[in-house]
Symmetry: D2
Subunit: 392 residues, 4 copies
């Protein structure tokens, strides 16, 4: 067994707080594992639930000191900002409509923000938050976690290096099946808020997973969207947001794409797939088998590039922990966002110096673009699929 | 090793002629193998090439009697119709723009026509040919060969049987890479005519392979198209027809679909893929691995249905020759169209009686729809992707 | 769609007879399709069944002239040898114990023999038949059909060309599940004779499919067996031959191998798999996905070589009919044995001249080795797995 | 996105020490991530290297207090046992020949031991260590980490529940390629000790990875070995331990197996694969795609059981963290061993009470059996592959 571990360990963990993520939440636990995995963060404070009992019980379970379990994010921001040992960063893991408030509060308190996606439930809030983030010295990291997968980094580097030549066609899709039936009517808390436009925003599948597919293609290809044409559906009777989205994409410079997001496609769990084709080659990647990247230089055999194996580039290696053939998964990819955040936060400690060049993470600008993508899809679909530009 | 052979053998082969398919042609040889595979046809006449030398040499190679190697299809139709031992059916394997003439001639001579797809190069010709075919007593079989794959038959039967519930979403794609560079400028005869609108029709990838994807989804799902929105490109500089097509589909009754056809996607050989999702389950099939069909009843494990294996239905078995685990391929699927044609032709010998109910093959109507699909794609794309109906 | 058809068509079909293969038989129909596929053979005579009624009905179904439907192979050999238009070759598709008699008869009549495998039910008969074949001017072709797959030819050529360096390790397996239960007791004709030592020989799975795996590894690697150690089982109670075989292999020169043959492995249909590893690279091939060959040059990315795609060699192309991405299957591979036989038979017509160098097919010597392999497995297993040499 | 996180968080981390694992080591970093992932352990002490400088630098990097960075494990065991806040458990991650000493020291100091595999470099030491462990109140956990994968737990439960019926055949293999060339001569530290019999023990591939394959099959099937026949090779010239092992297995009760371990198989990274077949069904699992388990009930379609998906059992769910379709990998599986250890250690805190019934981890007995497996392979191979029993 060969390979070398990453040396991000040590140097004292960063003090982290969390908003949301109390018992029963899904994504909060993921953030905590991701924060812990490389030993870079220690969770020391939280406003874990709007329900005081649940907040308290969750804090106890997580070993927080009682005085650092807060009833509200406002109180937490105020109090932690005033402590010598206050948190340096906060993870915001609430439903979409509850990102804006805490993000604003912590940014204004000078505390770095690590925020779940999509950025906000509305485009207005997204833009306002971006303005706030850009005025702040604090960092803003958006957990578009799929950008943390080593082979996604590999793909991005290969495109940047010209391995595909000039890009022509992008096929992106994210298919699930868990909303095939009306789960929001039968007690699924996750389904309830994710299909409630007041909490999730105007996009359903579009916002929940379409934004991931869109962010992924943007991250890997660097292509900039010119316009999109969308056809959204809510197939399940009475559903208030879309559960299936068909989108055609036109990029600046002439490349074209298609994007499919669905939560009603039986047999798909988290089938996020990206295929990119250019004048010189093609790449294919699938989230459910994330350690493998298929690359075909035009006119040659298809090649399998594995995480850490032959042909894998430094861009992949630096976010990789173990040897090839030992799969890394979703949590490691997610942890890479935290690891990048840690590097940025440690750099920020040194003062206004520049970030190390190779630190890569999604920012508030990606967040605005994601929300604008949802907004444009919804507008296009209402306008019979007319080609629509992002409002940014 | 277990299994049972199909009993279509015997009963004296049907006398077959061929138009096109001389030395160097690709699809002619495929038709001949398909015709031969079950022993149902014997090639006895041909107008194999417009080049007399090549016609003669091809006829010799194929063992035709010299007098039945014709200089033109007109002469062949006339002469064969007058012979007691004249051909009963003719295979037309010329480029698209040369389907109409021979098809008309043989139909009017009362000879059954087995014609390559797309039906014609223009919609006008397609409709006229349909009218001719419908007036004729002769059969018209269009070789949309992918409908001959056993697991495509299986998928169709499963949809018809309700295994997927009410259909919602269809994803169809056919990706190739052989036109990534300008092959039509470097001596590829196949590339030349397939990118020449005068010979292939207005659609490039759309006509050559998009029609296959469209026909396949129609065959399996039975869904009827309401309208489409298309975005076509000719990525290779100077190419005169599209080499990449993005299409959104709206079906009557509310189902939606996407269709992608590309000949510039490096790493794809003949990647025709169909995915169908309904309220009760999902199906996935890939032409490059055609003996397997993936079926997920919603809420249950994904299942692999193999040709001839557990869960495979009579609709698949009747076009299958060998036991499960021994792959059948493209030629067997193609041969199934010929086998169905043979059953129909033998039935037709008996007089005006009905065809056996289980004989299934694409007809001139499918051909018209395919050409109308290309026509609608081209019109929609010129009209900035406006939703467009088929002109039929 | 690109590619070129093989030009083996034409030149007048070879007159073929068949022994066995009457209605209800499996492998007879396969042989007939294989013989027909390239138009190289025409079936004109048969001794199709020992049951006169079935023989007659089968002959009628296959369009044989009544006078050339024989009651016995002896009569057929005698009669056909005396006809000016007598058969040039005969396909022997009877159960294993009935290969010897007809093979001897036709060889001695100067008629080429195409014989199903394993060669015979006993090693004595195998050796005697080899002696007869070698005395005869007639050709002897053994249908170890998996050697006909293009990517098997590719693998063989790559090994011969040194792409793998010096060979070290071979893993061969052929797993099925159809004898998991006692099918021979519940009416399966195929199971009955294949588990009857009097008809199949001393080996069950070993003879039926282990010989295929052994032949395949021999064909691809060229390695010569030094000794084997086998552990055979009949897992199903009351079964009279092995249904699972574990074998370790030692080759001359130091390479090693393992071979597994099983008919009691649920979930396996015809899972014949070969993996070969050397100092410079590795190859992997699977019969159920036969158009793909995986090749890893040591220290480089794994590559997918497809039939007809980049990296595929002339050895594969010459037994390939259609373009890459359009799968060829079992019947095409089987037909390649017939196509090779046809080339050899046509060459033989010219007199004592040498065969074209690139004609490749399994011979009586491979057949003897296969039967000797079964014999050695049985002897080793009875001798508690002692290392055992082939008796040849 | 749906799913529920495991609730192992909280309750105060267990104080952990580490022996070995200084900078540059591979497996030490893996253990630390695994220990950290669920927040159950905190690393507070270490004897990280026999090189004092490296030990010190490693301790600093890991944030240990200087006084708890020890020069030797003996000192560490003595000192930590005397502290009120001393470590409760120690992870031993040294090369194989350096497991025995520290394991003995910590067990005798009453400190729980989490030890890398194989247990020891010799069978004598293994047995002695087992005796020590069984006399001790401290727990002994062996990190046969592949038993921590959820779908391995699933497979084990399915076998135990009878989903496969009576077991007949097991195929286990672990193939790598990193020792295809003589890496031990070109500066690979990992290769050096793993091919040095004084440090790794008498088995090379057999000990390093063969033990994993053996442990995995034992864990999943519960079958007990009766005897084995082995053929070991050192293919690379001058290599002092085997780099390829072929082993046939006989289990009590009549089931049979094959096991292949290789480090010279180009194209294999960490290809650990297990296939199990019984009277009622078959299972297949591959470590490089660990979230999927293939299950075929005999006579039915093959089914894909995914981690957390339909058909997955509580035995898998309790060691799973995130929803289906989001892959968990090697580190999560490894962390499951630590999570089980944590449960056991917390239970042990309560006194002599029994462990919770569902806590599952490999113990010193599995370790002895693993070393005995290597010993038997080596003896059998030296004895020309004679059937050999484990010396336990």
């Amino acid at each position: 067994m060969v390979g070398a571990s990453r040396s991000t360990e040590g140097a004292g963990p960063i003090r982290l707080g969390m908003v949301g993520g109390g018992q029963g939440a899904f994504i909060g636990a993921v953030h905590r594992i991701a924060a812990r995995l490389d030993g870079e963060f220690r969770l020391v404070a939280g406003a874990l639930s709007s329900d005081p009992d649940r907040a308290r019980a969750s804090a106890t379970m997580l070993g927080l000191e009682p005085e650092r379990s807060y009833a509200s994010y406002e109180e937490m921001a105020r109090s932690e900002a005033g402590r010598a040992d206050g948190i340096e960063a906060v993870a915001i893991v609430t439903p979409n409509h509850l990102h804006f408030g805490p993000a604003k509060a912590f940014l204004e308190a000078g505390i770095h923000v690590i925020c779940d996606k999509p950025l906000t439930a509305t485009l207005e809030e997204a833009k306002e938050l971006a303005a706030i983030a850009e005025r702040s010295d604090a960092l803003f990291i958006l957990t578009h976690n799929y950008t943390g997968y080593p082979m996604v980094r590999q793909a991005r580097q290969m495109v940047a290096d010209g391995a595909l030549g000039e890009l022509r066609v992008v096929q992106a899709e994210y298919a699930q099946d868990w909303l095939t039936e009306k789960a929001e009517a039968t007690g699924s808390k996750q389904a309830e808020w994710r299909t409630d436009p007041a909490r999730s925003g105007a996009g359903g599948a579009t916002g929940d997973i379409g934004t991931h597919a869109y962010n992924l293609l943007r991250f890997v290809t660097g292509l900039e969207l010119d316009a999109l044409a969308a056809d959204l559906d809510a197939f399940v009777e009475g559903r208030r947001v879309d559960d299936n989205a068909h989108v055609m994409l036109r990029f600046r410079g002439g490349a074209k794409g298609m994007l499919w997001a669905s939560q009603v496609a039986p047999g798909n769990e988290n089938s996020l797939r990206l295929r990119v084709y250019g004048t010189a080659g093609g790449l294919e990647w699938w989230q459910e088998d994330p350690n493998r990247l298929w690359y075909t230089p035009f006119g040659q055999e298809k090649r399998l590039i594995t995480r850490g194996g032959a042909g894998s580039l430094p861009a992949a290696a630096r976010v990789s922990r173990i040897p090839p053939g030992h799969p890394e998964g979703y949590l490691e990819g997610f942890a890479n966002i935290y690891a990048e955040a840690a590097r940025a936060i440690r750099a920020a400690r040194q003062g206004p110096a520049e970030l190390p060049q190779d630190v890569v993470f999604p920012t508030v600008r990606d967040g605005v673009e994601g929300v604008a993508f949802v907004d444009a899809c919804v507008r296009s679909s209402k306008n019979d699929g007319a080609w629509t530009k992002l409002s940014i």
